[in-house]
Amino acid sequence: MTYEIICAGFGGQGVMLIGELLAYGGMLEGKNVTWFPSYGPEMRGGTANCSVVISDQPVGSPIVSEPDGLIAMNGPSLEKFKATVKPGGAIVYNASMIETASEMPGLKMLPVPSNEIASELGNNKVANMVALGAFIGLTKVITLSSAVKALEHVLPARHHKLIPLNVAALEKGLALVK
């Protein structure tokens, strides 16, 4: 099994981080994983995205062009990537920034009011975690506990005090799916 993901949004929305958590979480589950960021001139213009591959086999291309799953944190990202998602794939999008999204036949689409939920938790910055929680709930690509463990590795030590907040956001997102 190979599962390919694109996480995309504005710079500063933390899409690189949720991609890293997916990859790290996959690794902690014993899988082969890659994480690849957009970089350099692509970053100018304010959008950022990363490719994540989680697989039982050695990973081939680290660059995902036909994802199984997409997390889109803003409108331009959804527009750019939604048509590339494989049939049967899943899209989680940030409904706080994307008012309406047309249904894509054959895809599971989940609107998540990430910013609102994050604000309710008292910190707008964890909107990305809400979306990630929902994505994990929808796709089961890694478990919540792997994502939580990954936080300890991926977040720099000086931010570890924020882990409980991040976990709360992941759980809120996950709860949307049930």
Partner: protein, 353 residues
């Protein structure tokens, strides 16, 4: 063994430190900046030296000095910077100074772009500087190989007293993958030829590439060629995947080998007989295996991020005994899995295999 996620560039840097490298000289250039930036943080922790040189020309000559003095020395750069280093590299080869040079290649010619590219293959494998010389050139295909090959590179550089190049690219450098890091190695330099101060030696040690007197130059070149032959006989490395029953074999290294692997997995799932041959040493080139496979009647597709450089070595190895096709990208971007898949499919149909 604990796996940690690391960017290719950082995995390489940490791998170098664990292989005993204590001297890094470099100059900033995208997309390899993670290497010097990592070294700037890390070297002081291991009592090593990180020095930002004023240019690539200086950096490579610092390497000449440090390597010639017996230190495990590393420099890294990207294509335009590697071009500037060529004079120094020729001197390093001529004076037989061990060292490791990393090229995180980007698209050229000239200032080019920041995207990944494999268009420095000729420069890496066919000289680049002046004179009859060769570097040993490794092309890592995973972050783990970044770690493993940099260690091997230092060992081989010293074993053969030859500069070694790691030819990577922007994708390999920026991608994060799990790696298992080796233990820190103590390297006790025992290099009787190095300039360390005469210290009781009867004759001074001299690091030099001048061969102006009498038959000197010929003798130096004969010696070098004998060394290169030994390297060709002993140091070829490649990975073969599914080649035994394959009708068509993709030849690719580094980033494109990974894209090809994804495409080949899709094709094999459909029952197509396709395989991958991935050179790990670009010099010495895995000519014997290609020659053998050609004799068995296989056909080849070379996938490269260039107008076709590796393909020339494949054609030479195959020597008219098999058909060699080429698929390349020249815009500093990576071919997609779908593009490579379609290309192979088209070839299989055309070939009536």
């Amino acid at each position: 063994m604990e796996r940690v996620m690391m960017k290719g560039n950082e995995a390489l840097a940490e791998g170098a430190i664990r292989a005993g490298c204590r001297f890094f000289f470099g100059y900033p250039i995208t997309p390899q900046n993670e290497i010097p930036e990592y070294m700037a943080r890390r070297m002081p922790e291991v009592n090593g030296v990180f020095l930002q040189a004023e240019s690539e020309v200086s950096a490579i000559n610092m390497i000449y000095g440090a390597g010639g003095a017996g230190g495990r020395a590393l420099t890294s750069s990207s294509s335009p910077g590697i071009s500037l280093k060529q004079e120094g590299i020729s001197y390093l080869a001529g004076a037989q100074v061990p060292c490791v040079i990393v090229n995180v290649a980007r698209g050229g010619p000239g200032l080019g772009g920041l995207g990944p590219s494999q268009s420095d293959y000729f420069q890496a494998t066919k000289g680049g500087g002046h004179g009859d010389y060769h570097l040993i050139v490794y092309a890592p295909g995973t972050a783990q190989e970044m770690v493993d090959l940099i260690g091997l590179a230092f060992d081989k550089a010293e074993e053969y007293r030859n500069p070694v190049m790691i030819l990577s690219d922007a994708i390999m450098g920026q991608m994060m993958e799990p790696v298992v890091l080796p233990e820190m190695r103590e390297v006790t330099a025992d290099q009787p030829w190095a300039t360390t101060g005469k210290k009781g030696r009867a004759k001074p040690n001299v690091i030099n590439s001048l061969g102006i007197v009498g038959e000197d130059l010929e003798r130096i070149n004969i010696e070098l060629q004998e060394k290169y032959k030994k390297i060709v006989d002993n140091e070829i490395r490649y990975e073969a995947d599914g080649i035994d029953d394959a009708d068509l074999i993709v030849v690719a290294y580094g980033t494109t080998s990974r894209v090809a692997r994804s495409a080949l997995n899709m094709l094999r799932a459909e029952g197509k007989k396709v395989g991958l041959l991935r050179p790990i040493t670009l010099w010495p080139f895995p000519k014997p295996i290609l020659s053998e496979l050609a004799a068995e009647g296989k056909r080849f597709l070379v996938v490269e991020m260039s107008v076709g450089q590796l393909v020339e070595d494949v054609i030479l190895a195959v020597n008219d005994r098999a058909k060699v096709d080429f698929f390349g990208k020249l815009n500093g971007s990576v071919p997609t899995v779908r593009e490579v898949y379609n290309e192979i499919n088209a070839l299989l149909q055309k070939g009536g295999a």
